[in-house]
């Protein structure tokens, strides 16, 4: 019935000789086993980091934001840097699951589940920073437009900061729904395989009573397609709006029109790097090398070199425009970025984001797993410095030289940042243990077109002349025609 035909020139998406049952075994059995020692070590280490983060935040909430290093000149420091960094990382998942679905990129099936989980956790981490940056966090709900006894006084709906509230909460909700609607059939699989009563009850609850009738699947596919269509502009809108937090302010270094595309490219860049960091480890520990193949990692490295180059061009464009604008403030700003007291952050950004990813033009390096892993971390260090450069080095020398200042983070800010790593990895470890980390039903769906053993059968067809091939396809069509009537 699969008329869709893929040349064996394309790499298989599923290696090894698999059938449907073997796929279920491979992906679901880690849920049914006791986790290994590495899992416990990693999980408890993450939990400790999370608790340290909670302590650091509690300290800052109790004593006030004076315990942070931010001051009157540099009002945004590590907090907003980390916020933008995490939100950026949170772009890859929905890009992989939505945009690549619309572009019909088959390789997304192997990685979309884990990438989307990563997205959701990254957005959760990102959200903490603006919330606690409010200082009086117990008044945080003032940002919501609800009828209140203060007038009612509404928040400024024309402000990018409020757009951000809507953009990020919508992005989180839609990503979560998209992710979960794909998880329901896979939870049903875990439920039907379950041997213990407890597991049957929990996954029975989580699978919503899914049975997989033909109509169920028809609606499920329609839902996935429309959600992908909705999520695609949504992904682009989120980092666009984040960039407008800066671009609409009249501050040299921020007030530029290239910010939206430049931020989106940077977000995809760092997001894919984080996906690689996680998947290189996940595939190894859960023995999923046949589903998350070197080909998958290579595809993501290609996206990294593309988006890294876009980001590099954006940096150079900024420098050119600063010179070309003839504006003294703009020129001084960029001179100080490169040669001022924060020169190291600018050069760290340039090296990690622009120079080193160019090594991925070499195919051998793209397919080298240890190199991919190291590079994925280098990219995210670079992207952290990019946000630091944009935020801190645009603020520290403002229009009045008398108020120029320097900023270094205090332990509370560092602790907060480490705490979000704790939150992120705690969630990821739980996900890796209790969730099918690969979309089982989607892999089964592509098995007969892209599985290694099934592709081998195509070699015979591949040898045929065009005449013969067309004949085969036509007779196939006739068969289908009969079935329909």
């Amino acid at each position: 019935m699969h008329i869709k035909y893929e040349s064996f020139v394309r790499e298989p998406l599923v290696d090894g000789s698999k059938d449907y049952h073997q796929i279920s075994e491979d992906i679901v059995s880690p849920i049914e086993r006791k986790p290994g020692r590495m899992w416990y070590v990693g999980f408890f280490f993450s939990l400790v980091l999370l608790l340290f983060g909670v302590f650091s935040v509690a300290w800052a909430v109790y004593w006030g934001l004076g315990t942070w290093g931010v001051n009157k000149t540099i009002g945004w420091g590590w907090d907003i840097t980390n916020f933008v960094w995490w939100v950026g990382i949170g772009h890859a998942g929905t890009l992989i699951s939505a945009i690549l679905l619309l572009f019909r990129q088959g390789w997304r099936t192997g990685v979309n589940r884990a990438a989307e989980a990563m997205t959701i956790f990254a957005v959760m981490c990102a959200g903490q920073f603006p919330i606690f940056h409010m200082g009086r966090v117990w008044d945080g709900f003032f940002i919501l437009p609800y009828p209140n006894t203060r007038g009612p006084l509404w928040p400024n709906l024309d402000s990018p900061l409020l757009w951000d509230v809507f953009a990020i909460s919508t992005y989180f909700t839609v990503s979560l729904l998209f992710w979960y609607s794909g998880l329901i059939p896979d939870f049903a699989l875990v439920r039907d395989r379950a041997k213990t009563k407890f597991r049957k009850m929990m996954y029975g609850f989580a699978s919503f009573g899914w049975t997989g009738t033909a109509k169920n699947w028809q609606r499920q596919e329609a839902l996935a397609l429309v959600l992908a269509g909705l999520a695609t502009p949504l992904v682009l809108s989120v980092h666009t709006i984040v960039s407008m937090d800066f671009a609409t302010s009249v501050i040299p270094g921020w007030h530029t029109t290239i910010f939206p595309p430049y931020f989106v490219a940077g977000a995809v860049f760092s997001g894919f790097a984080m996906v690689n960091t996680l998947l290189v480890i996940t595939r190894k520990i859960l023995h999923l090398e046949e589903y998350i193949t070197v080909g998958h990692l290579e595809a993501m490295n290609k996206v990294i070199v593309l988006t890294g180059s876009i980001v590099g061009i954006a940096y150079l464009t900024e420098l050119f425009i600063a010179w070309y604008s003839g504006s003294w403030g703009e020129q001084a700003e960029f001179r100080w970025r490169i040669m001022g007291p924060y020169w190291w952050s600018y050069w760290a950004m340039m090296t990690c984001n622009v120079v080193s990813p160019q090594l991925f033009w070499v195919k051998k390096l793209r397919r080298n797993i240890p190199f991919t892993f190291v590079m994925s971390i280098v990219v995210n260090i670079g992207m952290w410095f990019e946000r630091f450069v944009i935020i801190v080095t645009s603020l520290y020398r403002d229009w009045i030289p008398g108020s120029w200042a320097y900023y270094s983070p205090q332990w509370t800010e560092v602790g907060f940042y480490l705490g979000t790593f704790g939150l992120f990895f705690t969630c990821y470890f739980l996900f890796a243990k209790y969730f099918p980390v690969i979309a089982v039903s989607e892999i089964k769906f592509v098995l007969k077109t892209s599985g290694d053993n099934f592709k081998k059968k195509m070699e015979k067809i591949e040898q045929q002349s065009t005449e013969e091939f067309i004949h085969v396809v036509e007779s196939h069509h006739e068969e289908e025609h009969e079935v329909h009537h």
Partner: protein
């Protein structure tokens, strides 16, 4: 909701299922449903299902989001509490685009997922009878309803002629009910 008797046919591959479904539709047996572990393209056509209108519902929800956003913001800024930001117009549509867009997407997505759950009758705590424990794994299951016009044996013999690897007779609830998947009492009472 009703307790009914079913003849269950299990197939090993979707390529066996397709001609079987065709045969069942021609035979006049009452097909209860077909269960597959993943979306099998063309199966809805083979069963004679219409395409779903879920996307139209999504479009309508999206429009609700758009009008909610534009209506709410324009009411706030033009009527309830007009604010003067540097002499800019109260009705500042371009500045409302981001929130309008976000609410459109939010309403469409949430509405569609809820509609999806409603149409498929799925919800946390809902239970449905699973005819074969591997119907979500690697088996393709076609279920015939047994009524007064057919005997069990006829139905089973017919299913066997369509290429099943396994058949059974089961008495089960046809719809959904609140229950837990770890409890089997109701089904076991019906199928001693």
């Amino acid at each position: 909701m009703a307790i009914k008797k079913f003849a269950v046919g299990v197939y090993d591959d979707e390529e066996i299922l397709f001609p079987a479904v065709k045969k069942i539709r021609h035979s006049g047996y009452k097909l209860h449903d077909v269960y597959t572990p993943f979306p099998v393209h063309g199966l809805d056509d083979a069963l004679g299902y219409k395409s779903t209108d879920l996307h139209i519902a999504g479009f309508i929800y999206g429009l609700c989001g758009t009008s909610t956003a534009v209506g709410f913001i324009s009411w706030i800024y033009c009527s309830d509490w007009p604010l003067n930001y540097g002499g800019k117009p109260h009705f500042a549509l371009p500045a409302w685009i981001p929130i309008t867009f976000e609410l459109t997407v939010l309403f469409a997505a949430v509405g569609m997922v809820l509609t999806f759950c409603y149409l498929n009758q799925i919800m946390p705590g809902v239970k449905k009878h699973v005819f074969h424990p591997r119907q979500s794994d690697d088996k393709f299951v076609a279920v015939l309803e047994i009524n007064s016009q057919v005997t069990e044996q006829e139905a089973i013999d017919f299913l066997k002629s369509t290429g099943t690897s396994e058949t059974s007779i089961q008495i089960a609830e046809a719809g959904w009910w609140y229950g837990r998947f770890d409890q089997k009492e109701a089904y076991e009472a019906l199928n001693p």
